[in-house]
């Protein structure tokens, strides 16, 4: 374990991850990463008719930082509009976690990408347009 390298926030979100699980019939779902590289994140969104994220759940295969980043990202998008959620960057996720070790920065990037992938799925399903949202790469390691 990266004792001393992980912040208390990371340890907290790893030990007690928020919003673990799935949403049945989600408004949007996105999966990013690949097992070969050791990280996969899946994020589910429940979005109301006004484009506000009512609920968000995740499942993650990966290291402590990947779990903590997913947990934090789900907390950050809840209650936000889809446009606001789209604008959450990996830097914001990292800041909210009081930082990540350099070799773990890609975990926060994965969280950002997972949100984008879930939002993209929502847009495809509903025909919504979110300004600035691009089709996500399935695998950020490509």
């Amino acid at each position: 374990m990266y004792d001393g390298e992980y912040s208390d926030k990371v340890i907290d979100h790893f030990t007690n991850p928020r919003n673990v699980g799935e949403i049945e019939n989600p408004s949007g779902v996105g999966t990013v990463g690949n097992a070969k590289c050791g990280d996969i994140m899946r994020i589910f969104l429940d979005i109301d008719e006004n484009g506000i994220i009512r609920d968000c759940k995740f499942k993650t295969f990966g290291c402590g930082a990947a779990v903590a980043s997913s947990s934090m990202a789900t907390e950050m998008v809840k209650g936000k509009s889809v446009q606001e959620a789209m604008e959450i960057t990996n830097k914001a996720v990292m800041q909210a976690l009081d930082g990540l070790p350099v070799v773990k920065i890609h975990c926060s990037l994965l969280a950002e990408e997972a949100i984008h992938a879930a939002l993209w799925d929502y847009c495809q399903k509903t025909g919504t347009v979110i300004e600035g949202l691009k089709e996500p790469k399935a695998d950020i390691n490509d």
């Binding site: 374990m1 990266y2 004792d3 340890i11 790893f14 030990t15 991850p17 673990v20 799935e22 999966t31 097992a35 070969k36 590289c37 050791g38 990280d39 996969i40 994140m41 899946r42 499942k59 993650t60 295969f61 990966g62 290291c63 402590g64 930082a65 990947a66 779990v67 070799v103 390691n141």
Partner: protein, 393 residues
């Protein structure tokens, strides 16, 4: 439960007797054993005794033991000087694919310096393929280096057989015995070994000291320059306390080894049996029996090693992992890939290495924690979800 340390292959707690034996050489008998005055006598005698203790553990002569700063230096010295010494005879080195980085990285360095290296693969149990090894031998092969026991999966190599093959072809044979020395019986003569590396802190000695055994008659040139210590082969003021502590730790470790290993093997097998029986989608890495009595290495599908480590760490169970996420590189351990594990399985691997003083209760506690951890991490895993859903269809 207090802390359960199961990372003994990373480093071991020092033996009390070893620490006690070192203490006088810091302040009372602090003199340099290479000095000429009377104060140098006691430290000189202590170094001599340590050399005898080490030699006695591996059926060597005291004059064949050269003290170094540890396993890494011993490996670097054996490979680099061993190749340079024979440069005119040949420039080809053979190692296995699952060597420790001290050998592996040194072999890359040698390639940059114009030497040629063949890395022979191992089978699914992590044992070297003798037919492949024999095929790899060329007329210009001058050195073979294969580890005695692997640091991750604990597999024990057929060292005597490899040594015989090397000697039949007139090739020098080195073995990295860092994980083996003090843990399993070693005999340099029976094993046909020309050079052997070991490290003090892996068997209850201090860190920062090790040795290289070099068979009498092999004129291995020095790697460290600047003094006449160690018969002019290894320059640098002798680490007297370190050497003394290592000598005592070696003697204790090698005493009653069979009886100790019977107990260790029982603990290990209990651990392995419970894990494989009680945790689904788990596998043991390395050979079921040809492995260090203290080593168990597992892969758990659908989860990742570092997160397992963190979760276990919170329950005060301390182990290590071959996952890439713990190293900062993208690839999992070369040893796990070397035995043919796919990346995603290798990421979910953990190594458990058991100190001698471990109790059955501690092992049972660790297995209980491991079961909980695997379950928790799987409840988070999208791969496990996908797998369970695919099973229902």
């Amino acid at each position: 439960m207090e802390e359960v340390y199961l990372d003994n292959a990373a480093t071991s707690r020092m033996k009390k007797e070893a620490l006690d034996a070192m203490m006088p050489y810091f302040m009372d008998e602090f003199a340099n054993p290479s000095s000429i005055h009377a104060m140098s006598r006691a430290p000189r005698a202590a170094v001599k005794k340590a050399r005898e203790q080490i030699a006695g553990c591996i059926n060597a002569e005291p004059g064949e033991i050269y003290f170094t700063s540890g396993g890494t230096e011993s490996d670097n010295w054996a490979l680099i000087s061993g190749m340079e010494m024979q440069e005119k005879k040949g420039k080809h080195l053979i190692i296995s694919t699952i060597e420790h980085h001290a050998i592996l990285e040194t072999s890359y360095y040698l390639e940059k310096r114009g030497f040629e290296v063949t890395r022979v693969k191992v089978d699914k149990d992590g044992i070297i393929d003798m037919a492949e090894l024999e095929k790899a031998i060329r007329p210009d092969t001058v050195l073979i280096s294969v580890m005695t026991a692997n640091n991750e999966i604990g597999s024990i190599q057929p060292i005597a057989e490899i040594g015989k093959l090397a000697h039949d072809k007139g090739i020098l044979f080195h073995t990295d015995a860092v994980q083996a020395f003090g843990h399993i019986p070693l005999d340099v003569k029976a094993m046909n070994v020309d050079m052997l590396s070991a490290s003090g802190h892996k068997f209850g000695g201090p860190k920062g000291v090790g040795f290289l055994y070099v068979r009498k008659g092999i004129r291995l040139p020095p790697f460290m320059h600047g003094g006449e210590q160690e018969e002019g082969r290894r320059a640098g003021t002798t680490n007297v306390p370190g050497v003394v502590g290592m000598g005592v730790a070696a003697e204790i470790s090698c005493k009653d080894m069979d009886a100790k290993n019977r107990k260790m093997t029982e603990l290990r097998d209990h651990l392995i049996d419970r894990v494989l029986k009680e945790i689904p989608y788990s596998r043991l890495n390395g050979h079921r029996y040809k492995r260090l009595p203290s080593n168990a290495d597992f892969s758990f599908e659908f989860i990742e090693g570092e997160s397992m480590l963190m979760s276990l760490g919170m329950k005060k169970v301390y182990i290590s992992t071959g996952s890439a996420c713990a190293s900062g590189s993208l690839d999992p351990s070369h040893v796990l890939l070397g035995i043919g594990l796919p990346h995603e399985i290798a990421h979910g691997s953990v190594r458990i290495s058991i100190p001698e003083e471990t109790t059955l209760e501690q092992i049972d506690y660790a297995v209980d924690c491991l079961k909980q951890t695997v379950e928790t991490m799987r409840s988070l895993s999208p791969l496990y979800d996908d797998f369970i859903k695919s099973q229902r269809v």
